[in-house]
């Protein structure tokens, strides 16, 4: 009978990556016909847990039971066959194909014509229409997906899950790009599915939504399960407290920097995109570490890229040392001695197929030109100095950067920017995807730079990192600045409250 209580049981799931215990014996049970919310800070282990469930990662320990039977999936397709669907935060539809083709991709209805099989478009159309009617969705099955809003695309994903007769549907931040009306419609669909006995695992940061829709809430922190609670016993404050309540060890180096005069003033920065940052103003002092906190989607990266000249603004100004400056592209930002270590190392940081040498010098060739030609020997000696200074572990400066670990790649990129001797260094999630030991080294580098009078802006989604490193903390929520806090006087709860202010 135990099998009837829970449709899905995850028992003692552990998973570790080199240097990180991503999941530590996590057990979560989900009842059929219920909405089970999964909460936790960025990096608490929610996605890793879901990836273990779907067989994308194989857990080191623990087992997964569906209807009381042990399962392990080799692929998302396997999971689908067991009635498990996931609606991802980032949707990947085929934009230039019709809605119905997206919906039935990989399982088109066919009809036989002698020995040949053809796609049965008429049946596909009818099935799609019936499905949309059942779910009260108003979408033309033949229109191209490119013509649809994000919420409609998401509806298609939900319809796809329903069409698979999924009994467990996982939704990862399904409302992050929806308007209020669209959220209401989504909740209607969720309730309908729940009443039909479908279990929904709902991953979100939005407290209000969780309290509105969830039956049970599991809270995770640092790869561990804090607990599973009935939603009716919870309040926003209790959730925040359980999400962040942890002790801080000596995970950060001692800081000896003394913030000085204001170096950078950003006034009233607003993006042309109405969903992005608006009216953001802040100062940065010499030798200061300014942490920028917020949840995923708070538009922190977009703001910093705009300051660095990579994105347009419709209003706002930048003042350096009291003088107004315009940054129309990255070249201008660099000549003003601003550096940006981007969030996504792979797509905008490293040159995978080039050597460590070329990667370090990529933004600095100008300084090595001697009568039109590059002084490669001087470059080499600077690269050697960088490798020693930041202790980059590489067989040689000629090694391709793609053969280095994430931490060493990150140090290489930081070296690139340090070589141009920046006054302002913007670090976007500088320790993402880096193991614990390398993290400490990066913190040491940051603390040392601040001590030497460099001004640092550090975006981070990891609370302890923000609290452990920042002199001041700017908190953002949905594109707006919701507060600037003194690093020593604040705590995780205050930050979390500001980061969820408009949710």
């Amino acid at each position: 009978m135990a099998a009837k209580d829970y449709i899905l049981e995850m028992k003692g799931i552990s998973k570790s990556f080199p240097g990180v215990q991503a999941l530590d014996s996590v057990s979560i049970n989900v009842r059929p016909g219920s909405v089970h919310a999964l909460m936790g800070e960025n990096g608490a282990g929610k996605s890793t847990l879901m990836k273990c469930l779907f067989g994308i990662y194989s857990p080191d320990q623990g087992e997964i039971l569906i209807d009381g039977k042990k399962v392990s999936f080799g692929s998302a397709r396997d999971a689908l066959n067991y009635g498990l669907s996931m609606i991802h935060q980032e949707l990947l539809p085929i934009l230039y194909r019709s809605v119905m083709e997206n919906l039935w991709l990989g399982r088109f209805p066919l009809y036989n014509f002698g020995p040949l099989k053809f796609v049965n478009h008429a049946k596909m159309f009818k099935d799609t229409q019936a499905l949309f009617q059942e779910l009260k969705m108003d979408i033309d099955p033949t229109t191209w997906v490119i013509n649809l809003s994000v919420s409609k695309i998401q509806s298609i994903e939900i319809a796809k899950a329903v069409s698979h007769k999924s009994r467990i549907i996982i939704m990862d931040e399904p409302t992050s790009s929806l308007t209020e009306n669209e959220v209401d419609h989504l909740f209607e669909i969720i309730r309908k599915l729940r009443n039909e006995g479908v279990a929904i695992i709902y991953i979100s940061h939005r407290m209000e939504e969780i309290l509105k829709i969830a039956d049970e809430v599991s809270i995770m922190r640092d790869g561990r399960l804090v607990g599973t609670y009935p939603a009716k016993d919870l309040t926003t404050d209790i959730i925040i407290n359980r999400m962040v309540g942890r002790d801080m060890n000596n995970r950060f180096p001692r800081k000896e920097n003394v913030p000085g005069d204001v170096v950078l003033k950003v006034k009233d920065f607003t993006s042309p995109d109405p969903k992005s940052f608006k009216n953001v103003s802040f100062d940065l002092r010499k030798g200061e570490i300014l942490g920028v906190s917020g949840l995923v989607g708070a538009q922190r990266t977009e703001l910093m890229e705009a300051i660095f000249g990579l994105r347009p603004v419709i209003s706002g100004s930048i003042w350096l040392h009291g003088k107004e400056r315009r940054m129309r592209d990255s070249t201008e930002a660099i000549s003003e001695k601003i550096a940006l270590v981007t969030e996504d190392r792979r797509t905008t940081g490293i040159f995978q197929i080039l050597s460590v040498y070329d990667n370090i010098l990529a933004a600095n060739w100008k300084s090595y030109i001697r009568r039109f030609l590059l002084d490669l020997k001087q470059g080499e000696s600077e690269v050697k100095k960088s490798i020693d200074a930041l202790r980059i572990k590489t067989p040689s400066s000629r090694t391709l950067i793609q053969n280095l670990s994430g931490g060493n790649q990150q140090k290489t990129i930081i070296s690139r920017w340090l070589l141009m001797d920046p006054e302002i260094l913007i670090l976007d999630e500088p320790t993402r995807g880096i193991d614990v030991g390398a993290k400490y080294e990066i913190y040491t580098i940051i603390a040392d730079l601040a001590k030497r009078g460099k001004s640092i802006i550090m975006i981070s989604s990891e609370m302890p990192e923000i609290l452990g490193m920042s002199d001041r903390i700017m908190v953002m929520c949905e594109g707006r600045m919701t507060g600037i806090l003194e690093g020593k006087k604040t705590d995780q709860e205050e930050i979390m409250r500001l980061a969820t202010q408009f949710m």
Binding site: D329, S330, T331, L340, I350, F351, I353, L354
Partner: protein, 347 residues
């Protein structure tokens, strides 16, 4: 002890030989090909024939040095061949002998040699500006952009040489001082001579080598090919770099066009047809990656030498021209299949 040591050094030797072999596989194949053909046809290795092959190579290699850097930026230039044809006709039309009967411009004044050659280079350069601007500012994929300009260049050259009522006819009767550039040589001793055109190609080789390895432009070209988004963040002016690369290529096609007209002693509107494909083939044989960021000037040169030597060797071995094409196709694919191993293994 001594034994173990020598064994160790033996292993390192084998290792480094193997490494060299994977890294320089194409060069080794080229050397083997040349030597093998020499064994069967000793004349193949004669100074005259080697110089002859180098002369044929010279024009092609200059085109490849235009195409190669474009490939390095993840681009491709299909207009290369037609631009060579266009510039060849432009140069030839201004360098016909005064006493030649069917001159294109009947009363064309005598010009110092360098002027028409310079004009040919400028014409190529203009094609490059057009290609580069469309690619950089309008963001039209290079394949499409240069497909368009390829067709346009052919139309333009056909109009240029079209002389009603005769229609498009070859431009012949070129001045001796002009043809001498491509066919003349510095005598070294006896029958041993060193052609001017090979010297020109060597100079271009050196300049390109310096450009790609010793200048910021070169480094930026590799950076754009390796990761355009990271290049933008690093302050590389991607649009300007792209335009310069296409302009440089166009100028090189112009030089190649003038040299080819001089070599042939004439030019037609059909000159250069499909030569861009040979240039692309040579580059990829020489290890230039069509996905950008990988490739060297030495590799481009090796690729062109590989193709011309193979053609020449097959002629010497009396293989039919039809078979030559089949061999060429096989070489292109297998060269890349071998070359790509050195990147696959590290994944």
């Amino acid at each position: 002890m001594a034994n173990a040591k020598s064994l160790d050094s033996g292993i390192t030797l084998i290792k480094s030989i193997r490494e060299f072999a994977t890294k320089r596989a194409i060069l080794l194949v080229l050397i083997v090909l040349v030597l093998l053909t020499g064994v069967f046809q000793p004349n193949f290795l004669s100074w005259d024939n080697l110089i002859n092959v180098l002369m044929i190579t010279s024009v092609y290699v200059i085109i490849a040095f235009g195409e190669g850097p474009i490939l390095l930026t993840k681009g491709v230039d299909l207009s290369a061949g037609r631009t060579v044809g266009l510039t060849a006709c432009v140069a030839a039309s201004m360098l016909q002998r005064a006493d030649y009967e069917s001159r294109i411009f009947t009363n064309f004044p005598f010009m110092p040699l360098f002027v028409p050659i310079l004009i040919a280079i400028v014409v190529g350069l203009v094609v490059g500006i057009i290609n580069g601007s469309i690619v950089a500012f309008l963001k039209v994929p290079p394949f499409i952009t240069t497909l368009g300009t390829m067709v346009i260049a052919y139309g333009a050259v056909s109009l240029y040489v079209d002389r009603p009522p005769h229609g498009a006819s070859p431009i012949g009767g070129l001045r001796d001082d002009f043809t001498n550039i491509a066919n003349g040589a510095i005598p070294i001793s006896g029958t041993v001579r060193f052609p001017y055109i090979v010297i020109i190609a060597l100079v271009v080789f050196l300049l390109m080598w310096v450009l790609l390895t010793r200048t910021r432009l070169g480094k930026n070209i590799y950076a754009i090919g390796a990761n355009p988004d990271a290049a933008i963040v690093s302050g590389v002016n991607v649009n300007r770099t792209l335009i310069i690369v296409y302009i440089l290529a166009g100028a090189l096609y112009g030089l190649a066009g003038a040299l080819q007209a001089a070599r042939q002693g004439s030019a037609t509107n059909n000159l250069g047809f499909t030569w861009e494909l040979d240039a692309i083939a040579a580059c990829v044989i020489g290890g230039v990656s069509t996905t950008g960021g990988i490739g060297t000037v030495g590799g481009m040169l090796t690729g062109v030498l590989m193709l011309t030597f193979m053609n020449n060797a097959l002629v010497f071995l009396n293989v039919s021209p039809y078979w030559q094409n089949i061999f060429k196709g096989i070489i292109i694919v297998s060269a890349v299949a071998v070359d790509i191993r050195k990147y696959l293994r590290k994944r």
